[in-house]
């Protein structure tokens, strides 16, 4: 295998890139250098993370590429990183989307390019670090540090109500995550360990588990987000610049799902068993309610934002089914949503860059002028609906199969949500793309250019790849998920 610290290199390469950019003086001429350095750094990170995938040992359910050294002398806090089947694709998703984000903001970020690229590179380091940590405190440090660059990205480069949105985003998610800090300290006090691997052995009494579970729930439910903690999301999405929305939808929401799998399922199985009905109820309400809300939106970005909440509802159902199909479905749905919603936001960005509005009514008949755009948009729209052959199908299908083992009411709720998702997405597509051009301003709108092709085509390919060869993604994660399910069942059988 690899005898150099690959994971650490992947984590800190973007940060090194950021340090280099820090010393490039910014003016009209050099801003292109800044963009190129950022792009090359993130591409390098992506290539390195591909090595992670190629060298990944499918037969090993626990962590691989582990690196561990002592950090604090006075308590068991280690710099401990590694990758298992669950975190592998989360890391790949982050490294894949960040270069696309940088490309997407190539021309439309005109002020403070340097700070923008710095924020994105710092964000990438923090995201990867979070998914790769095997130490809870390290996880927490990264989890909270995500807020800093995201706050700046929304606040500086966002839309009109950016200040409100950035504060809401920051304070809402901070409120959730500080409770997790208390839970982490309580865990440490009970076990004298901060290792995620170690804590998955179920060491807590039932009552302690309930409190810990609620504390973790507070942070992950806000992050993922679950109804009724989702209200920060539409604001943040609408006000964030395109690339900010992409990262927010593509990776940041997955932090919640990842946390649920790792902490709630992995460490607090008995409490999870107790709270499953709550989660299922909230998820079904989320799916149906936010789908209906999405139907009524007049802003494209807001519509996609609400659809994210609905899709994340499918993810939480899948996770808390705690069976093989459910968890695999949830993971696939997260990856798929990471690609599809990111791509949808990029598509919105394409027309927003040209027309500077996101009102649905403004558009119509784009297929007349932008045939290529209409095609890629359709692929992602169908991916979001969950058409067989696209990535969205695999996740939703597996979750529903898993849900049959649990309760048919959940199936009905989830299926109803999927139908609604087809309704609002197709309706959106019809209003924007089809028909004849009625608005004169759209008369000479240009089709997507090369840069936009470079961004959208890899996404389209991976959406279809994921739909046709799901095993490419399911095989590496299967054993890690099985391990979590086995631990969960042993704990609850006692």
């Amino acid at each position: 295998m690899i005898d150099w610290p690959l994971v650490s290199v992947i984590i800190f390469l973007p940060l090194i890139g950021a340090l280099i950019i820090l010393f490039i003086k910014e003016d009209e001429l050099t801003s292109i250098n800044i963009k190129w350095s950022a792009l090359l750094t993130t591409l390098g990170t992506f290539i390195l993370s591909l090595i992670l995938w190629l060298q990944f040992d499918y037969s090993n359910p626990s962590y691989q590429y582990e690196e561990k050294f002592r950090w604090f002398d006075d308590f068991n806090f280690f710099y401990h990183v590694g990758v298992d089947g669950i975190s592998l694709f989360m890391i790949l998703l982050s490294t894949f989307l960040t270069p696309l984000c940088i490309l997407a903001s190539w021309n439309n970020i005109k002020k403070r390019v340097k700070e923008y690229m710095l924020s994105f590179l710092f964000l990438e380091t923090v995201m990867i670090g979070m998914f790769a940590s095997i130490d809870i405190l390290l996880f927490y440090i990264f989890f909270e540090a995500v807020l800093i660059p995201m706050y700046l990205i929304i606040g500086i480069w966002g839309g009109n109500r950016r200040i409100y949105a950035s504060f809401k985003f920051f304070l809402y998610t901070l409120l959730g995550s500080v409770l997790m800090l208390i839970a982490i300290i309580v865990m440490y006090r009970n076990t004298s360990s901060m290792s995620i691997e170690f804590l998955q052995g179920n060491y807590f009494s039932y009552n302690t588990q309930l409190f810990l579970w609620l504390a973790f729930f507070a942070s992950f439910a806000v992050k993922i987000p679950m109804w009724p903690f989702h209200t920060w999301l539409p604001d943040a999405h609408v006000e964030a610049p395109t690339a900010g929305s992409v990262i927010l939808a593509g990776v940041l929401l997955k932090m919640g799902g990842y946390g649920f799998i790792r902490f709630s399922l992995g460490m607090l199985p008995e409490a999870t068993e107790f709270f499953i009905p709550l989660i299922m109820t909230l998820s079904i309400v989320a799916i149906v309610y936010t789908s209906l809300v999405a139907l009524a939106q007049t802003d494209i970005k807001k519509l996609i934002a609400y659809s994210s909440v609905a899709h994340m509802g499918i993810v939480t159902i899948g996770i808390f089914l705690v069976n093989q199909q459910g968890l695999e479905g949830a993971m696939m749905q997260m990856i798929s949503h990471g690609l599809v919603s990111a791509a949808l936001f990029l598509c919105v960005g394409v027309i927003y860059d040209r027309m500077h509005t996101r009102e649905i009514e403004f558009y119509g008949g784009l297929v007349q002028r932008m045939p290529l755009y209409a095609t890629v948009f359709m692929i992602f729209m169908l991916g979001s609906v969950g058409l067989p052959g696209t990535s969205g199908f695999i996740g939703e299908f597996l979750v529903i199969v898993g849900a049959f083992k649990f309760s048919s009411y959940v199936v009905i709720g989830a299926a109803f949500g999927i139908i609604l998702s087809a309704v609002y997405m197709l309706y959106l597509y019809k209003r924007i793309i089809f028909g004849t051009i009625t608005n004169n301003k759209l008369a000479d709108i240009l089709d997507i250019n090369t840069r936009e092709k470079i961004i959208l085509i890899p996404l389209a390919i991976s959406v279809i790849l994921l739909g046709i060869f799901p095993n490419l993604f399911l095989d590496p994660m299967r054993l890690s998920l099985e391990l979590i399910i086995t631990n969960y069942e042993i704990a609850n059988a006692k």
């Binding site: 006075d74 304070l171 409770l179 208390i182 300290i185």
Partner: protein, 478 residues
């Protein structure tokens, strides 16, 4: 005999006292540049004192009939106070020259006040404690009112003096009750006397409450905090910096020692007082700071909030609590030094910056300064990976070790509220569009620049090598 005198001279407090007089005379006889030279001498004297504290052997004389005590905790806080006062003298030098306040007495006042603080930290007797507090406060009263022709400065001095005298009176009354009921002024004797009883009698409880009120005033814990914003606002900025950085260190050490040495067996009695002070300070500090438009008032409320967190560690009253307090106090000092080093060098239209809204557009005209302010603010809000997070983290570890779950949850909630006003400063610098640019000037002297860079370095890089500070603070005994 001669040998003995040398030994006496090298006792840090005595050395500092003698050197302060030397500084006073030195300033008096200088014709030119008296202020600058005296400041430099004062910094030098303080540096020497740090060395003396560091290498101080446990000489019996220092205890002087156990008026003073000697421990690693005391030494740590003494060094912290000395470092804080060195930093604040250096960063305020240019400011004083800038507003043409060149009295050479200022550094001497700082020296005397620092001497008072060192005695406060070490005091082991009610009487020496009271005298040390008075020495410290008297110097600070004068310092607050030093800008004689300014009404606000005089007002802040008088306010500070009247309220300070009131609290000293209350403190003294509490001392007299404690003395009356235990028959001793010495901490160890009081502790020994009290160890024979299971309950405190009514007189002692009254004494304890009065002393707590007096001490709460000194650390500016809610509801005895009223003076803080006014004094911070009225005093010249550099004096405010000194107020924010140094006296808090001594007062915190004092309240820790008072609770944990003579009254250690009566945890239940004092902890409920501290518990209330802590919760009230955290929340009032967080909420009241939101509406401030004056940066000095904002920092005043922010320091009130920080005191709330340090008092959590006192309620925990275990080894982890002492460790947490020392780490938190260190981070508090570093962050305040950094923010005041910047504030004392920012000028808006030739006036030193006061209004938060004047920071608008700073990120364009001076990106490095605004980045530094943002980092300090995030660190104060306790966002990882900066040092402020670890201060709060250790406080919560200590609290949970004592099973103070509710208090910890309240603590983190207050930290979310306080994050709002720290973020507001970042928002003003980065998000608000400024119409007019280049109003803000940043001029900093070489020495302050070193202080600023060092403290920023510690704030950012603490996470990479935390063990140095943590091992020191883990070894402290009260």
């Amino acid at each position: 005999m001669l040998n003995n005198i040398y030994n006496i001279l090298f006792i840090p407090e005595i050395f500092l006292a003698c050197s302060s007089f030397v500084c006073l005379l030195f300033g008096l006889f200088l014709k030119k540049n008296a202020f600058r030279q005296t400041s430099n001498l004062a910094v030098f004297v303080l540096l020497l004192t740090i060395l003396l504290v560091y290498y101080d052997s446990e000489s019996n004389f220092a205890n002087y009939k156990s008026l003073f005590s000697h421990s690693t905790f005391i030494n740590f806080f003494k060094i912290l106070a000395l470092l804080g006062s060195i930093a604040s003298i250096i960063i305020s030098k240019d400011y004083f020259l800038g507003i043409k306040l060149k009295n050479f007495e200022i550094p001497v006042l700082f020296l005397f006040s620092t001497l008072g603080m060192m005695l406060m930290i070490a005091s082991n007797n009610l009487m020496s404690m009271y005298l040390a507090i008075e020495l410290q406060s008297l110097s600070l009263y004068v310092a607050a009112a030093i800008k004689r022709d300014s009404i606000s400065s005089a007002e802040s001095g008088v306010k500070y003096f009247i309220l300070g005298a009131l609290s000293s009176g209350i403190l003294l009354y509490g001392f007299s009750l404690i003395y009356g009921f235990t028959g001793s002024m010495n901490f160890d004797d009081i502790s020994f006397y009290l160890s024979k009883y299971d309950n405190l009698n009514l007189g002692l409880i009254f004494g304890l409450v009065f002393v707590m009120v007096g001490l709460a005033f000194k650390v500016s814990a809610v509801p005895f905090h009223m003076w803080t914003p006014d004094v911070y606002e009225g005093a010249p900025n550099s004096i405010t910096g000194f107020f924010a950085i140094v006296p808090k260190i001594a007062a915190v050490a004092l309240i820790y020692r008072f609770c944990l040495v003579p009254f250690e067996n009566f945890y239940l009695e004092w902890s409920q007082i501290i518990l209330f002070l802590s919760i009230a300070s955290m929340f009032l500090g967080a909420v009241a700071a939101i509406a401030q438009s004056n940066i000095k008032r904002l920092l005043a409320y922010s320091s009130i909030g920080h005191i709330g967190y340090i008092l959590i560690a006192l309620v925990a009253a275990n080894d982890d609590g002492i460790k947490a307090a020392s780490i938190y106090m260190f981070s508090y000092m570093i962050m305040n030094v950094a923010i005041f080093a910047i504030l004392l060098s920012l000028k808006v239209k030739n006036e030193y910056l006061i209004n938060i809204s004047d920071l608008k557009g700073l990120s364009k005209s001076n990106p490095i300064v605004s980045l530094s302010i943002s980092i300090i603010m995030l660190s104060m809000a306790g966002i990882p990976p900066f040092i402020g997070f670890f201060g709060k983290f250790y406080v919560f570890i200590a609290a949970i070790e004592r099973e103070l779950y509710v208090l910890s949850v309240l603590g983190v909630l207050a930290s979310v509220i306080s994050a709002f006003y720290y973020l507001r400063i970042i928002k003003i610098m980065y998000f608000d569009e400024s119409k007019s640019e280049g109003i803000i000037n940043f001029q900093i002297s070489f020495q302050s620049k070193i202080i600023l860079s060092l403290s920023l370095f510690v704030i950012i890089c603490f996470i990479f090598y935390p063990s140095l500070l943590i091992n020191i603070s883990a070894s402290l005994t009260i």
